[in-house]
């Protein structure tokens, strides 16, 4: 690391310096610094990363499009006449106006409301209003060529029905980016045709990284979410694993269902496991081993913005959308499989109470990042300790560990620097 990279000599324009090369040292200012947030947009979201954009099933037919964001950048994902998925920035090549004003639509072309420039669903400029002027006056000069003014295109890739995009020309293909381990975790969950059964958005009053870390944090799950321990859903003493790709950025954790697991470690720690509580209607946790492998919880992440969850029989895609240095939107897309019968659908709907903004094992994640953000406000010198389970970001067959969080910082520092 050069002196310049560390921020010295660059004034406030460099990335926040890290105190050491150790992945377990994370300076607090990365969550509060507006300049860091701007750098992340350039170096992570617009950098060599694959970002989740939408479900392929949201644009099933040629002509279908959705408007979404990659980082803070407005983008359009469209299915062209040949059936291929295309993505381009939602910004007219003429004067930079937002092209699509709604979340979804259908058509042969997209026309800017401002001056009527139109584009096909591959992002090519096809029409310019009054290109030849009016009554032979005005119009575009002869050197103007429409094929030099297409929309800025993204590379796209699809895996398991999820569409990803990148601004980067050089980033490796999606499956290489994810690595075989994480690809395997994704194929395990999305192993058959699925559809959307619900959506919502949770506004998180915190920096996006606090949530990205939270979902990689197997340590907090059975402490903060006391519903899990109270009703014996996911104790750290259950068999499980953390699986991290080579870059560190992607992972999945698994826990197996084992009601016989000892709770001695909880009692010893005198945590607040309230074992006399009973549910009046336990259908909210009655799970069916639909994958036949006893895995009851699998949380998978793709750096930087995707979470794919299987919590019992709830399947959901969560999309982390940074909105400001201290504000994040979390989109929840709840899925069911096309072969679900009525009983399975009802099971997923009832277990839906576990997750989302009102979820028994998720709602605390909506506020805890905000508590951290508040504590760091104007008090962000120093840093945190991410040392549970060692200093490395390697896969582990236990979950009392912060290895996947260290993996996040390994990938993050490779991209942002410092």
């Amino acid at each position: 690391m050069s002196v310049q990279d560390a921020g010295f000599g660059k004034g406030i324009n460099g990335p926040v310096p890290f105190p050491s090369n150790a992945l377990s040292d994370v300076p607090f200012r990365v969550y509060t610094d507006p300049e860091q947030y701007r750098l992340e947009q350039e170096r992570i979201f617009k950098g060599p990363t694959w970002n989740y954009l939408c479900l392929a099933g949201e644009i099933p037919n040629p002509g279908d499009w959705v408007a979404t964001t990659l980082g803070e950048v407005a983008v359009i994902v469209a299915r062209g006449p040949d059936g291929a998925v295309n993505a381009f920035v939602n910004r007219c090549a003429h004067r930079g106006n937002l092209l699509c004003l709604t979340n979804k639509g259908h058509g042969k072309e997209i026309t800017c409301i401002y001056h009527g420039w139109s584009y096909d669903l591959e992002g090519r400029l096809t029409g310019v209003a009054f290109e030849r002027g009016v009554k032979r006056q005005g119009g575009m000069p002869p050197e103007f060529r429409k094929d030099e003014h297409h929309l800025q295109r993204l590379r796209v890739a699809e895996l398991c029905g999820l569409v990803y995009g990148t601004f980067d020309e050089d980033v490796e293909d999606l499956e290489t980016y994810l690595g075989p381990l994480v690809v395997g975790g994704m194929k395990r969950v999305l192993n058959r045709p699925f559809h959307v059964i619900g959506r919502s958005t949770q506004i998180l009053p915190n920096n996006w990284k606090l949530y990205a870390e939270n979902v990689k944090d197997t340590y907090h799950a059975s402490i903060l979410h006391s519903f899990l321990t109270t009703f014996r859903i996911n104790r750290l003493s259950m068999p499980g694993s953390i699986n991290i790709d080579e870059s560190g950025g992607h992972h999945f954790s698994q826990a197996k269902l084992d009601y016989a697991a000892e709770d001695a470690d909880y009692q010893a720690a005198q945590l607040r496991a309230d074992t006399d509580l009973k549910l009046e209607d336990s259908s909210v946790i009655e799970a069916f081993d639909e994958y036949g492998d006893q895995v009851s919880v699998q949380i998978l992440t793709v750096f930087p913005n995707l979470v794919l969850q299987q919590v019992r029989n709830t399947i959901a895609v969560r999309v982390i959308r940074p909105r400001a240095v201290d504000r994040t939107e979390l989109d929840w897309v709840h899925l069911g499989f096309d072969d679900d019968d009525a009983a399975m659908t009802e099971r997923r709907l009832r277990q839906g109470n576990l997750i989302g903004a009102a979820g028994y094992i998720a709602l605390e994640d909506g506020c805890v990042g905000g508590f951290v953000q508040r504590a760091l406000q104007y008090n962000d010198e120093g840093g945190g300790v991410v040392m549970m389970g060692g200093h490395d970001a390697e896969s582990q067959n236990f979950r009392a560990s912060e290895a996947a969080i260290r993996g996040f910082w390994k990938k993050y520092r490779a991209l942002v620097g410092a």
């Binding site: 506004i203 009046e280 709907l349």
Partner: protein, 157 residues
């Protein structure tokens, strides 16, 4: 029950329901529902698209009781309350002892430190058992105008 009495009964039910929540007497909240009830919080767009998943999806009075038990004894969040402002109730069809009714609402969230903000607006779409007293909800669909929920939702609406 004649229509005037029915309208008055529904007005009273609506007012008592929001008072129960806003006054933090949530242990009484499940009693506003029949045993075999449905309580769903969703948003306008999801509801229009026929999506059945809800931010909260309760398909029995037991699930409502569990919502309150976990909120009181298990879940972790900052103390806060709501103030509901209700629009006029509108009565729909009444058939076989079941009345359809609806009302618009607005809920302000008041945090423990006094910070107040507009939390949600929406519409209740109800099916009410009017064949017995007191009137109880067979189904209460809480259709939020926006799919965005700030931070978390733990107190029922």
């Amino acid at each position: 029950m004649d229509e005037t009495a029915l309208r008055q009964g529904i007005d009273n039910l609506y007012a008592a329901y929001t008072d129960c929540i806003d006054d933090d007497r949530l242990e009484e909240w499940p009693d506003f529902f029949v045993d075999d009830c449905r309580y769903l919080i969703t948003d306008r767009e999801s509801h229009a698209a026929g999506l059945r998943h809800g931010v909260i999806y309760c398909a029995s009075r037991g699930m409502l009781i569990d919502r309150i038990t976990t909120m009181r004894r298990v879940l972790v969040y900052e103390p806060h309350r709501y103030r509901h402002i209700l629009g006029a109730a509108r009565l729909g069809t009444v058939q076989d002892g079941v009345a359809e009714a609806r009302a618009n609402f607005l809920a302000v969230r008041i945090m423990h430190d006094g910070q107040s903000s507009l939390f949600v607006t929406g519409r209740y779409l109800d099916r009410i058992d009017v064949g017995a007293t007191p009137l109880r909800f067979i189904e209460r669909l809480v259709i939020l105008d926006s799919p965005k929920i700030d931070t978390l939702l733990v107190i029922p609406l």
